[in-house]
């Protein structure tokens, strides 16, 4: 068994016990990448030399300070919408050209100071806009379970890298499901923390009121460990919350007896594949067996979430992406005058999905439409949040499918944007309300593709969803299964 297949907590323990060095672990990961990357295409940039330097430094540090944290020497893959100082960052877009960031995102600075080794930058849908990684400006990533299927998006590269053992763990971002849905597609664990739990400073902004940084990992304990390392107040982010970060990894062991689980009927409607519904309900049964109390609930405004999301997210994105204008960094077209420089650079630099969303976002904010679209959407957003507030009066955790279907085929939905948007139906409402949610494997469909279950918690109640997830995971075989690389 390759060292690359270890979970974060196992690797950390073995590193502590000097069973191998961080350099050896990193080399094993790169060895694995050499083997599988040509088929998976999870990475946009590999930082081989830098990673080995970091690993060597981690080994040195361990000699000097014996009681080191769990991230010391651990190889982590980073979604390419995180700014990494001195390491090319593209956001999977041509518009960033050869942009080399002059600073590290806060989450990156935190894991680096914890001694993590950055393996490279992973592929995503361009500007995190998409659910399949097919919108990458460079190439699509493939699902390690079946190379003809999408890995999910937008953190498709990170999810595939974890599933293929091309890293020990990864970081991604989630705006409408972009961690949870690819985690479900790739049979791994993906956590979107409460909005404000992790700093957004240094993340290329998509929808500022919803973007969150989170871990993609091989199991729940890894997720808790990585969350501990990145969570916390950041004075550089005015939306980051100033409250204590619990020791998540130490809160996994308790049982879930008497825990109240809500199952919203709106998440099991016609758009959700039968196999998915079935697998999730079986998982709920398992939770009940462990002592949880299950109740059907209703979140009536669920059906409006996609419309609300695509108005608000595209509006915010249209503004956030205005800075990509070819003036101070990134790609600049050769054009006749200033106006053409703007329009040509952006036309050539942005892919079709990004353009579509910018136009949509510009439209819904424009004079005459602001009230009907943007303002209306923000009001319905309040109603969606109120649905959850009501529900959480009667339950501690809400359980739903993480995606309406298992990973679909490459090219299957790319022609129909609206269809693609609708595949986010299970994850979007959570971003609108700012709640924490986690997806983990709960079975496979008849094609052997992973199915994911989503656990939604109250604001800042990551401990409960991690605990439920951990208990479920430890009593089921799914997390032990490895990707098959079916062609």
């Amino acid at each position: 068994m390759s060292l690359a297949q270890l979970t974060l907590h196992d690797a950390a323990e073995k590193l502590r016990n000097r069973e191998f060095t961080a350099v050896e672990l990193t080399e094993a990961v790169f060895q694995r990448i050499a083997e599988t990357e040509p088929r998976v295409c999870a990475y946009l940039t590999l930082a081989h030399d830098r990673a080995l330097e970091d690993a060597a430094r981690a080994d040195e540090a361990r000699k000097k300070v014996p009681g080191s944290g769990p991230l010391l020497g651990i190889p982590i893959a980073i979604k390419d919408n995180f700014l990494t100082k001195g390491l090319r960052t593209t956001c999977a877009s041509k518009i960033l050209g050869d942009f080399i960031p002059p600073y590290d995102a806060t989450a990156i600075a935190k894991i680096r100071s914890a001694g993590a080794v950055i393996i490279g930058k992973t592929n995503l849908d361009e500007f995190a806009m998409g659910s399949s990684a097919e919108n990458s400006g460079f190439f699509p990533t493939r699902n390690p379970w079946n190379l003809g299927r999408i890995p999910g998006g937008s953190s498709g590269g990170s999810a595939a890298a974890v599933a293929a053992d091309e890293c020990t763990a990864a970081l991604g971002t989630d705006t409408g499901g972009s961690i949870r849905q690819p985690a479900a597609c790739c049979g791994i664990v993906g956590l979107k923390p409460t909005y404000g739990r992790v700093s957004r400073y240094g993340i290329i902004a998509f929808a500022s009121s919803m973007d969150q940084v989170g871990p993609l990992t091989k199991d729940v304990r890894d997720s808790a460990l990585l969350l501990e390392a990145i969570a916390g107040h950041d004075p550089a982010d005015s939306t980051s919350v100033n409250s204590i970060v619990p020791r998540y990894s130490e809160m996994l062991a308790d049982d879930i007896k008497q825990l109240r689980i809500g199952v919203p009927k709106e998440y099991f409607v016609s758009g959700v594949a039968a196999e998915v519904g079935y697998a999730v309900r079986k998982a709920v049964d398992e939770l009940e067996k462990q002592g949880a109390v299950v109740e059907e609930i209703s979140l009536p405004y669920t059906k409006d979430a996609v419309a609300v999301y695509y108005i608000i997210a595209t509006a915010e994105a249209s503004s956030n992406l205005a800075r990509y204008d070819g003036m101070r960094y990134g790609y600049r077209a050769n054009a006749r005058d200033l106006l053409e420089t703007y329009t040509d650079s952006r036309a050539a630099g942005f892919g079709p999905e990004v353009k579509r969303r910018i136009i949509l976002g510009t439209y819904v904010l424009s004079a005459g439409y602001y009230d009907a679209y943007y303002l209306k959407a923000q009001k319905v957003r309040t109603l969606i949040k109120q649905d959850f507030d009501e529900a959480f009066k009667k339950c501690d955790v809400i359980v739903t499918p993480a995606a309406p279907t298992a990973a679909f085929g490459l090219g299957e939905k790319i022609q129909d944007p609206l269809q693609m948007y609708l595949s986010d139906i299970c994850t979007i409402p959570i971003n609108l309300a700012g709640l924490p949610a986690l997806s983990l494997p709960c079975g496979f469909d008849k094609d052997g593709m992973p199915i994911g279950i989503q656990l939604i918690g109250k604001h800042f109640d990551e401990p409960t969803i991690l605990r439920v997830a951990h208990q479920y995971e430890q009593s089921t075989p799914w997390h032990k299964q490895k990707a098959k690389f079916k062609d």
Binding site: L83, P101, P102, S238, S319, R323, Y370
Partner: protein, 483 residues
Amino acid sequence: MKYEPIIGLEVHAQLLTHSKIFCGCSTQFGREPNQNTCPVCAGFPGVLPVLNKQVVEFAIKAGLATHCTIASSSILARKNYFYPDLPKGYQISQYELPICTGGYIDVQIDGAQKRVRLTRIHIEEDAGKNIHDAHGAASLVDLNRAGVPLLEIVSEPDIRSPQEAGAYLKTLRQMLQYLGICDGNMEEGSFRCDANVSIRPEGSEALGIKIEIKNLNSFKAVEKSIEFEIERQRETLLEGGKLIQETRLWDDHREGTRSMRSKESAHDYRYFPDPDLPPILTDAEWIDRIRAGLPELPNDRKLRFMKDYALTAYDAELLSSRRDIADYFETAVAIHANPKALGNWIIGDLFRVVNERKLDEQLYITKWPVPPQHLAQLVELIDEDKISGNIGKTVFEAMLGSSLSPQEIVSEKRLEQVSDVGAIETVVEQVIAANPKQVAQFQSGNEKVFGFLVGQVMKLTQGKAKPQKVNEILRKSLNRRVT
């Protein structure tokens, strides 16, 4: 048909904070291009804004001083448009819920008081600067100014003449200087003004077509441009023409306004609340603390000077025109209570020196040539007859080149006034003896030559003789000789 002008003014005041509004870059003027910049104010990918507390406090100060309502919750919004000096592609400003609303400024004009109401005061960030490159084929962008905090102060269209506009601006500027939040320099761009001008038939209630005038770089330009624009609009209407709502630029050389060349296809700024910034919350406690720390405002101070110090309106106005001057004056008066004399020294002599030596930094005099304690002492010495007024001038000049107190200078240079009758008599006798011709002229009725003889006595005493005593004794001596 008689038309009346309806004028509103929009002022952008650069705030005197140390750092920018959303990042820790310096606001210091005159640096190398792009030296005061960082990823945040340069609009790099991934950056986020964090609001400078001092900016909020300054806004509250301005709001309190102008009797505005301070919002308990106000929202920062994005104003979206593309321009090379606007790095994020949007300006963070305020739109629907500004920090201050209502309010007014009372302006003195032609002896009467006019109240100009304010619509709002809000917070926003400044953009960078563009200049043309040497060959004129490209533009050069300097982002040092991007992110410098601004207050936008919008008046209601209550102003009715170019003179009122000028008076309003002067009063507003002085108030901001007093509050210590803006140095009010129009030429350097820390205090900018756009004017909105329309006209309507006298007696009508309807609003005319509102035309905005930009590119006003001095108070004079403001008044002239408004005057020009009123005339232009009047002529247009009288000739049966139509006015279009537009923005016009003031041309200082041609002294006229012209339509902006680039047809700004009606800017749609697509304002929406900035999701990166929570609402600005103020509470009564914070506002009360700021209110308690407000300085006495210019007009109040001027009236108090007139009342407490019996100064004329003119002198009081000069001495209260700036806070540092007013503070200096009152520090001196507190030491030696002769406000009239101190006022004269400050207005007459000190201001002259400050101008000569270019010590004025617009908002405050960085280093007064003479500390107020010393000026007070100088006046005291004169008032106590220890030195004459003329010697006082000499001492003052000596004070400019030294840090010694006037008393020390008088002692060192032996400038004490000589009032001893015997000593003066002696000198008078000397002068009479040495100037028989002039003595004779005096005695034959020539009064004018008396001054010459006095001058001679003063010369012999190095100016130290007490003038009244000299006059007395000289006259007595001369008269004695007649008989």
